[in-house]
Structures are given as C-alpha cells and as structure tokens.
Amino acid sequence: MFTDFFYTLRKRKVPVSTTEWMTLMEALTKGCITNLDEFYFLARAILVKSEAYYDHYDVAFKEYFKGVETPAEISEQILEWIRDPINRMILTEKEQILFDSMDFDELLEELEKRLKEQTEQHDRGGYWIGRGGTSPFGHSGYYPAGIRIGGESRGRHAIQIAQERRFRNYRNDLTLDVRQIKIALKSLRRLSRIGSEDELDLKKTIDAIAKNAGEIELMWQRSRKNAVKVLLLMDVGGSMEPFALLCNQLFSAAHSSTHFKDLRYYYFHNCIYDDLYQDIERQEAVSTDHLLSTIESDYKLILVGDARMAPSELMERYGAINYYERNETPGIVWLNQIAEHFTHYVWLNPYDPRFWIHPTVQVIGKIFPMFPLTLDGLEQAVKSLIVKK
C-alpha cells in the first residue's frame, strides 16, 4: 500500500525507516482512516520525527498525491514584505481595506499566477508585475490594492517557493535562530572531572569499607563538568554587514551558553592583523601576539567571517583595509600563526558555499576547515572541534 509514497519521502530526504513504515501499515489495518486529511496527519505523526522535516514531508505529500507541482518562484523579499505586519500599518486606510479583502494566500496565488503568465521584465504597465506601474504587484507601484514590493530590503538572496508550506521555516538547512545555535553549541563539550569533590565514588567507597572491615567510610570524587573553552573571533563591518543579524545571533547563543568553561571573543575587520578588538567598534585593542602568548592552546577556536577581501589585504605587508592599521606582518602570516597555536579550529562562513570560489576564501579555507554558517554547517563544525587529535 502506498509503497511509492515511502520512496517519494525518502527521495525528498525525509529520514523514514521500514520500522516506521510498518507502524503506519499497522495503523492503517486498524482502520482509522476515513479520508486523505486524516491520512496526512496520521502518516506525518508516525513517519516524521522532527518539525525540521515537516516541510520535506509536505513537498513529498504534494508530489505523491497531486502529481508534480512546480509553482512559480516568489522571492523571499516579497514574502517578507507581505508578512511583515508593520508594512500593513504604513498603508493608507484605503489600501488597508483592499489589502485585507484578499487574504495572504489569495494574494500569493494571484501573484504566482501573474508571475507564471509574465515572461519578461516589465515596467509601467497596468497588469503585469514590474516597476512603477499600476498593477497590484510591483516595485514603487501605486495601484491602491497593490503590494508595494521592495523599499527597505532586509532579506538576502534565497529564492524560495511560495506555497502553503508553513513549516518551511523549521527546515534545518534554511534558518537559524538563537535557540538552534545554542542546541548546536551544546554538543561542544568534553566532560572531565573538575571542581570540588561532591560525588560519591561508589567503587572506592566499597573498597574502603571492605578494608575497614565493614566500617562505613564514604569516598568522594569530583563530578564531571564541561571543560571546553572557546575563543570566538568575528569579522565585523564591511562585507559582513548583511550578516550582522546572523552573527549577532551566533554571538548571543555562544554568550548565553552556560556550559562552556570559558568563552572569550574578539573582533577583527576583514582579516586578522597585529591587533584584535574587544568591542564591535574596534576601539579597545589587544595585540594578537599578546593573545597568542597568553591563551592556552586547548581553546577551541571559532572564526566567523566571509574570508573575502582583496588578495593584497591578505598577502601583503600594510595590506590592511584600514590605512592606519599599518600591519607589519601580512594577514596570511597571522592566520597561519593562529592555526599553529591552537589544536582545534574552524572557520564559519555566512556565504553560501557556492560562492567560496573567491581566491582569498580558497586560501583561508586551506588553513582553516571552513563550514557554512547554517545549522548543518555549525553541527559539522562542532563535530570537528571535539574530535581527539
């Protein structure tokens, strides 16, 4: 029964196993299903074990039960604009009424329909999607019931399929929030016995009692605590500006993760030179040399940056983008020194790995293992930080 659905799910990367499939079959033979809606929820409850895969499931379900659907793509920016309730508040009253007369899905459907019909870029029309026109959709348009798309842009790239896929935001490969980052960082731990002796050591206690001929003597040991120390070095400003929110989230997750023995963080701009900075405005400096000579090498080093710069900024003396920085040592030398000092290090790059072909990204990627700043990338990075060397 529905065996193809099983393979459709697997094709869509829902990690479903035969055990679960048999459970579903068991449920079906018990006769609990009267319609497709119930099947949808039943199968989801049994087969899908994380909200991160709800969206994959939705896609597979649609594909199997409705035939393949390829909806027109609506950029994330548009979606964001429509969803942001604040934008609704800046519409005039007349616009608001019209806006509210269509619900979100209707608007999207209409938009999708027109995107499909339209095959070329379009300006100043009355129906098509374009710029400066009077169609309900478009950039700087003035059609009263329309959606003014664009204006202040907050999202970056990421073209996504606009469809009724509510769990899209739970996908592991798309979004990151503070909590998710915290969870990923949680696995960054190495337990060792430190602190005061507050745990009963049963084996030693038994030995001691046996030696004392039955006289009870309690033996204590140190309890296991996380011994991981983290050094976070973050690129700020310039080309990292679009990722400020993401980096901010990473930082606040790391900062509020209480399970590290120690967390130290410094900022740099573009590349690391003679100095690192203690604040984001890069006022309070600490010399990189001093840091390296005082910090133990067992700190897990996490570098965050796009690693994109002019080759001279990386390779040359006085190459720093900030003229007054006057670095005597080229950035590449500093980076190599840092890599030599620490035993475990990773570089997190917020850019999509498809854009890592840039020359300096390549060079830096050879020094530090580079991972994308997504949940999956972060998990992999954490894994490589805890392997024994």
Partner: protein, 286 residues
C-alpha cells in the same frame, strides 16, 4: 466509521487542542506507542498529559527529567546504602532484598493495576544516551531486576507522553519507536479559544484587538524571544485591569513590557517600530 481506539481522546474542558494533535494522541493510544511532543515553550506540551489524564479519567504519573537523571532511576533503585546501614545496626532482615528495591516512575506505571498516563517530561534535559537506555523497556514494557530475579511486566501499557524542548538531538532508534507531534504556535482562532478559557467574560473587541497586535509582534523576526501564550495571557490580564479602551491597543501597545521580556527586544521595538508607525508612543511599563 472509525474502529474503536482511534477516537478516545477528545480533549478536556480546560485544555484546547487542535485536531492534528488529538489525532496524534489517539494514534499513540491505539498503537500503544509513546507520543513524543515537541514545540515552542509555552505551547502546553506538559499540560497535554494532564489533559489526557483528566479527559480519559486515568491516573497520571509524572517523571520529571533533570540533567542528572539516569534511565535506571525510572525503573527501580536498589538502596544499597540503606541495606549496608541495616547490616551494621541490624534493624531489618537484610537477606530480604525486596524491601530495598524501590520502583521508579516507569516501574510504578508498569506495576499499576489500571492503565495510567505516564508523562516523561523534558526528556532532552538528561544525558544524550538517556532515551536509548529506555528503548527496550518502552518497547517490551517490561524489565528485569537481577537483584531479586524478578521481572516487572506492564499489566496495562501506560499511555506514555514524552515532551522535549529539542535541546539535544534524540537518538534515531528512539525516534523510530515514537509517534511524533510538533505543537505549532496556536493560530489566532485557536488562540481566541485559549484566551476565552482563561478569561470567559472578555469583551470581543478587546480580544480581537489584543490578538491582532500580539500576532503582529510575533512576526517580527528580530526579537530574541518572541512573546508566547503565557505572555499574552499576562498582557491581556494587564489590559483588563488597566481598563485600556480597545481602540488604543494597537496604536499604543500599552504594557509592552509584559510581552517583551528581554531588554534588547524592548529597545529594538521602541526604536525601530514605534517610530515607523509614527504614532505617539507612551511608555507605560509597570
């Protein structure tokens, strides 16, 4: 026509459920598998077990998991220290090991003469291996006590509800045996019902305005902590006590401090959004 077993749980008067959740509960009951519940904080994961218990009229056994909890503790604890102590002072007959075996929560659920609802709360708080250690017991619904050579077998399979905050990944082998449901944040209609459970006499106009504003706030992704149900309930209570006319709610957002608990969120909101709307924002924090 549904066969029996699939429509047992219908919710209870003090807990509003969505249909998918009810379905998941009933599937779990019918198949005798543990139900794993996940969801944002404040969506009522723990309350679900209470609701099942009261809805079906079954006793509830709660096993709260902490970071130090071991799987063994849920089955039974062999109080060796007590026995050792007794052996020295001769209070009790130490050859009777049975009296030193104390059943844990899971053990109690198995040994119960009638079917119970077992809540394993916040399973992800414990060590990563914890769920795996319980696999066999939850599968077979029995465990062996070597000390007394006894096997405790569940007289009735307990209805097990396991909640998780997704702090740690749960092992795949464990997941395969569970029925899973993710409690979504309630949509406005469901939220209306939930609020009405708390404030049966709330004015419709106030409720609608409050919800509208609340959901607008939740859509702002920059917040570190989005307001959740419990914050909404507090806020509405404040609005009612403060006697705020409903037409002012979305414009002024009074008592916004009850909704936004983090200072950064509060500042962010005041700076970026209140000015954008361009209304006169009056700070009315308590």
């Amino acid at each position: 026509m549904k066969s029996d077993g699939f429509d047992q749980f219908k919710g209870s008067s003090d807990y509003v459920t969505s249909e998918p959740l009810r379905n998941a509960v009933n599937v779990a009951i019918a198949l005798g598998r543990p139900l794993l519940i996940r969801g944002e904080p404040g969506t009522g994961k723990t309350l679900l077990a209470h609701s099942i218990s009261s809805g079906l009229g079954k006793k509830l056994i709660v096993w709260n998991i902490k970071s130090t909890t071991k799987a063994q503790e849920g089955l039974y604890v062999y109080d060796t220290v007590q026995r050792l102590n007794d052996s020295r002072f001769g209070d009790r007959d130490v050859s009777d090991i049975k009296q030193y075996i104390k059943l844990g929560k899971l053990g109690q659920a198995f040994a119960s003469l009638e079917q119970v609802v077992l809540l394993i709360d916040e399973v992800d708080k414990a060590d990563i291996e914890f769920p795996n250690d319980l696999l066999n017991e939850l599968d077979e619904m029995s465990f062996h006590i070597p000390e007394t050579n006894e096997t405790i077998t569940a007289i009735h399979r307990p209805i097990s509800v396991i909640t998780s905050n997704a702090e740690k990944e749960l092992p795949d082998a464990f997941l395969r045996r569970c029925i899973f449901h993710y409690i979504e944040f309630p949509d406005p209609e469901l939220m209306e019902e939930i609020v009405q459970v708390h404030f049966p006499n709330i004015k419709n106009s106030l409720l609608r305005e409050a919800l509208k504003t609340f959901y607008s706030l939740r859509e702002i992704d920059e917040f570190r902590k989005k307001p959740s149900t419990s914050e909404l309930i507090d806020w509405i209570r404040a609005l009612i006590v403060g006697g705020i006319p409903h037409e002012n709610i979305s414009k002024e957002i009074p008592f916004v401090g009850t909704l936004l608990k983090k200072e950064t969120d509060y500042d962010y909101f005041v700076n970026s959004h209140m000015t954008r709307i361009g209304s006169t924002f009056i700070t009315r924090r308590q």
